[in-house]
């Protein structure tokens, strides 16, 4: 089994010297991003429970993987998230209001900010991986120095599209980074039952691309690994497969009960106590004198206010109109859509049946 790359231990200690690779400002930003998205995630679950939001896919526990990887991108890069990667999207520049909107069932929640390429959350498993090969391939053919980053989970590695994406990316040396958050479960199925291979990273060997196994709760390790993958991609050396070992503390979605398939309380408690991504960075920052209780409470208050503002923005967003469903199906609407739209908006006939 390939070794697990770790830089920052759960106790907040560096296991290797990273001088010159990661500045203090970035470290603080990492912590702030992770703390912000954790609050966002908890808020979202509450909103779902209050009936103000639809089914939601929580990511708590996976902040280091998502934040660390997305922070290694630059604005022209392409980000392909799944339905669990809103933390990555937010860090790359998606507004929290849009993410709320998406989960509130508005189609406009998928719109990427201008000049950024943040794709809508991909619902089918592994299918977005080949798109990330395509956009990266186009970047390469058009001599644009951008990478495409595709997120996916451990379950996705069983899909054909995972293999086709890695194979294509290897053959055409596309600047794609494949980032797997192996959180141990594909809804209810544990990785041991998902795959006979011990790791996901080892699959890279089959396509002759680098495969790296990294502690997904160690944001330094994630970020440094991503940086290297991005540099490699931009240097024309092709794709990288990153397997980040992490865990989702909560359910697959708010409609799922994880107690049915795992010892939820014990497992989540263990990960929280022993491997939490925020805790370990906070301990490290505190030891360096870069963070303290005052900073923490100030930051939490500001972040909470930002989230509330985003929520207010999302909740005051104009109500979708039924006719919006007819927009953007084609560049020019077809006659069918035009007629069906007028059928939808005209009042139903009330006259009785003639005698």
């Amino acid at each position: 089994m390939s070794p697990l790359y770790q830089v920052l231990t759960p106790e907040g200690e560096l296991v290797q010297d990273i001088k010159g690779q990661l500045d203090q400002e970035t470290m603080i930003k990492m912590y702030e991003n992770m703390a912000l998205v954790r609050l966002f995630d908890r808020k979202s679950i509450n909103l779902q429970r209050q009936g103000r939001m639809g089914t939601y896919a929580p990511f708590e526990g996976q902040e280091a993987s998502q934040v660390g990887s997305a922070m290694a991108l630059t604005p022209g890069d392409w980000l392909f998230p799944t339905y669990r990667d809103h933390a990555a999207a937010i860090v790359h520049g998606q507004s929290m209001a849009r993410v709320f909107l998406y989960w509130m069932g508005h189609m406009e929640g998928s719109i990427s900010p201008k000049n950024l390429n943040i794709m809508p959350p991909c619902v089918p498993i592994a299918t977005q991986m080949v798109h990330a090969v395509g956009t990266a391939w186009a970047s390469k053919l058009q001599n644009e120095k951008h990478v495409s980053l595709a997120y996916f989970g451990d379950g996705a590695t069983s899909e054909g599209d995972f293999h086709e994406a890695l194979n294509f990316a290897g053959v055409f040396k596309t600047p794609t980074v494949f980032f797997c958050q192996n959180n141990g479960f594909a809804i209810s199925v544990p990785f041991s039952q998902q795959s006979a291979s011990k790791t996901i990273a080892q699959r890279a060997a089959a396509y002759d691309i680098p495969g790296v196994r990294v502690d997904g709760n160690d944001i330094f390790a994630v970020w440094l690994t991503m940086k290297k993958a991005v540099e490699r991609a931009l240097a024309g050396e092709g794709p990288t497969l990153i397997e980040a070992i992490t865990f989702r503390y909560g359910a697959h979605t708010t409609a799922d009960d994880p107690k049915k398939y795992r010892d939820q309380e014990t497992l989540s408690e263990e990960w929280r106590q022993e491997r939490d991504p925020l805790q370990r960075l906070r301990m490290y920052l505190e030891k360096q004198g870069l963070w303290d209780e005052t900073k923490e409470s100030e930051f939490i208050a500001t972040a909470g206010a930002k989230i509330d503002a985003a929520l207010a923005e999302a909740e005051s967003y104009p109500k979708s109109r039924p006719e919006d469903m007819f927009k953007h199906v084609y560049a020019e609407p077809t006659w069918m859509a035009t007629e069906q739209e007028s059928e939808l908006v005209k009042p139903a006939k009330q006259e009785g049946i003639p005698a």
Partner: protein
Amino acid sequence: MKRKLTMIQAITEAMDQKMAEDSRVMLLGEDVGVNGGVFRATENLLQKYGSDRVVDTPLAEAGIIGAAIGLAMNGLIPVVEIQFLAFIYPGFEQIVSHAARMRYRTRGQYHVPMVIRTPYGAGIRGPELHSESVETFFAHVPGLKVVAPSTPYDAKGLLIAAMEDPDPVIFLEPTKLYRAFKEEVPEELYRVPIGKAKVVREGTDLSIFAWGAMLRVADEAAKQIEREQGVSCEVIDLRTIYPLDRDAIVESVKKTGRAIVVHEAHKTAGMGAEIISIINDEALIYLKAPVKRITGFDVPVPQFSIEDDYLPTPGRVMSGIMETFTY
């Protein structure tokens, strides 16, 4: 002297000329490069445009179509070749869940200007799963356009229009007609608009709607029945399966009062049902008899020893026509 081309030559020329004109156009698929495609549709294009623009891909339809979606979203115009329509199934999810929906999901921010070309239809003595005609799968999915030419002239003009279309186009090439005949094809780049049918033969007593290889069968039946029974049939090549040219359908039925749809796809939920529905909506009171469908059967397309028995023939079409007159 005007030059004449086969359909496959017309298709090659359409791609060649578009590639010369627009550097964003690229071809990808299995065997499209060195081999020039299993039907030679991309012959010599690799030599002309290089391996960045004519790409022999790994054998993986989801990979090809999925990568093409990304290429299209990021500024290129990929033209994908899938060797046979039934080989498209591994890439089906990419077509219906992504190519068709990207514009919608992103509220117009990203779109997928790609063409998926694929030979389709029976009558070429192909092995199992080389002869399917499942255009309905794609016509049912909002966001896709579905085109099926029946002549070399239309094939070139429609394919150029497809490559210029901002939406994904499924371009179905009737395998049986690839080299069946030649016709005059202009040398310049020209467009045959998507969504417009063509009256192939004017007539007064009955309308026949068809596309792809069935157009020839319909036309043959029309000629024969005129000769034998003096029935004047109007033959209409729909050319585009989605969106259908409603006006052409309705106008003709209003004139003739009788109609037949001929397609080689399976009968149930085939496009014939949709065309009849349009006629019911718009021209019911003009009808003198129910509209008949002459189609392939609701069975897998059989292997070639009985393939001809599956396909509509001029004889079956003529029987259908007579039934509408004796109703």
